[in-house]
Amino acid sequence: MRLYRDRVTEPPQTAEPTPVPGPAPGPAPGPAAADGTTPQTPAAVRRRAALTGAAVSALLILAIVLGSRLLRDFDSALLPYAVATVFLAFGVAYRYTVWISAPGARRLFRQGWRSFFSAANFRTAPTALPKMIATYLGFQKFLGARSHARWAAHQLIFWGCLLAAAITFPLTWGWFTFTSDSGSGPGYEMRIWGFKIIGFDALNAVGWLMFHGLDIAAVLVIAGASYFLWRRMKDRGAITGQRFAYDLVPLIALIVISVTGLLLTFSSIFLHGGGYEFLAILHMVTVVFTLIYIPFGKFFHIVQRPAAVGMQLFKYTARRKDDDEILTCRRCHEPIDTAPYVENLQGTMRDLDLGFDTWTEYCPRCKRVLRGTAYLDHVKKGFN
């Protein structure tokens, strides 16, 4: 009888081989997960996701009603946008719940939040989390390591979209209002939830920036998205395996939204509102479709990316401890990763019924060398 670390098996490994067993059992849900939770059926996950989505949507509707002072500040012309954001909230919450219900994501999600809520961790490194958020989510340093041009283009899209979202979402929800005591200005007051935040003159620089924030955002987004679109047509690496709906539609949507948005400004300034209604509807349709597309396509990475911070925080927390937190390869003693991370991965593999979780205690190179040695010794002796 042979024991592979902690399990007893018949001899398949380094002695004479045994016949190929019958078809391996399918991915039947494993026994109770190692963390004590019971395995979830897909139907149960979908039910929970639908409930979460409905709850988040209901909360958003409540926030819109309350934030717009019982709809007094709500702009009914923007109703389609507001409805789209409610669908967006449902879709994001639904997919997020399904996503974090899978073993790999669920375990990392828990470890990330555990590190986040660790008071000891916060005491020893209070700046770690803000730094990671700025590095990974704000300035996206990792993209610079992939390509400087892609980093620059992504930053343009990121800040452009962030600016646009910061302006439009509260506007469509009736949270922002611009009022003027004199009727037609130029003195305006910006109010959030009815409270005055800032007073400005519509004709000075601040006023211009306030009323052209979306135009600035559009210029940023058009520049960034155009570069990515050009790259998707020219770069052979990017073209490999690219899909129209996943890779190109989001870029086209961003560009159409931005261009139609700019055309609205163009129409009001240079055409005295000519074609404005048509452009407004075209703009609204593209925005609504894009908002509803967010949970299902490439844009979902916006929701997923914070997981990188949770993962880094989890590893960082383990590294900061002084006592033996790095696991080294059982064969060559090269560091693999932090011990809690490897244990977390082993748990994930057990959840998935991947029966070789102890293999994670060997580095990738030693895995290959040991396989080569086994082939050399037991399959084709002295194969060279």
């Binding site: 042979r2 592979y4 045994t18 390591a145 937190e325 790095i326």
Partner: protein, 215 residues
Amino acid sequence: MMGRTIFIDPGRCIGCQACVSACRECDSHRGKSMIHLDYPDEGHSVASLPTVCMHCEDPVAPCAEVCPADAILVTADGVVQQADTTRCIGCANCVNACPFGVPKIDLQAKLQMKCNLCYDRTAYGLAPMCATVCPTGALFYGTLDELRAERPGVQVADSFTFGSTTVSTGVAMVVPADKVQWPVPGGLPVVEINGRDVSEANSNKGGGGRREGVR
């Protein structure tokens, strides 16, 4: 096993590294080689082992299963693609879960990369770069029939054992005729036989797995 796939014959490999160089030319990871060439008994034998992604079929792509970001997609033709650059968070789950030690990771770029069977080429019926340049046929791309037309009677195996688990793969290895019905050992060391600790003998340097305060 996929229809057209790579067949690896370590017995033919001369360790020339042509595959490693050619792999860098693949459009989907230009400048970086995804193939591994290891020397299992370096100093004592000239034996060398090229490792490409085995495109696991059962269980389907353990790397994709453990991915917390759903970044690794398996195309309908059974090819396990490298991580989607938009989704990959660089956690290295795939790197450490892969039983064959295939995926690589760029920690700065927070990105996993691995052999994708030169999808930019194979999707159009061309052979992967490594198989195109291999001077000895240690890496052969085609169907099993095409392999047998060139090498009559050759036998291949596409099952590998890791402890109690057998992994079936899309990529196959050439094996001697008397070994064809056995899964190929994956190399996971045995630590105990009938209560006797043999971990020292199997682990080249013994011990290991220690936790060290390495920074």
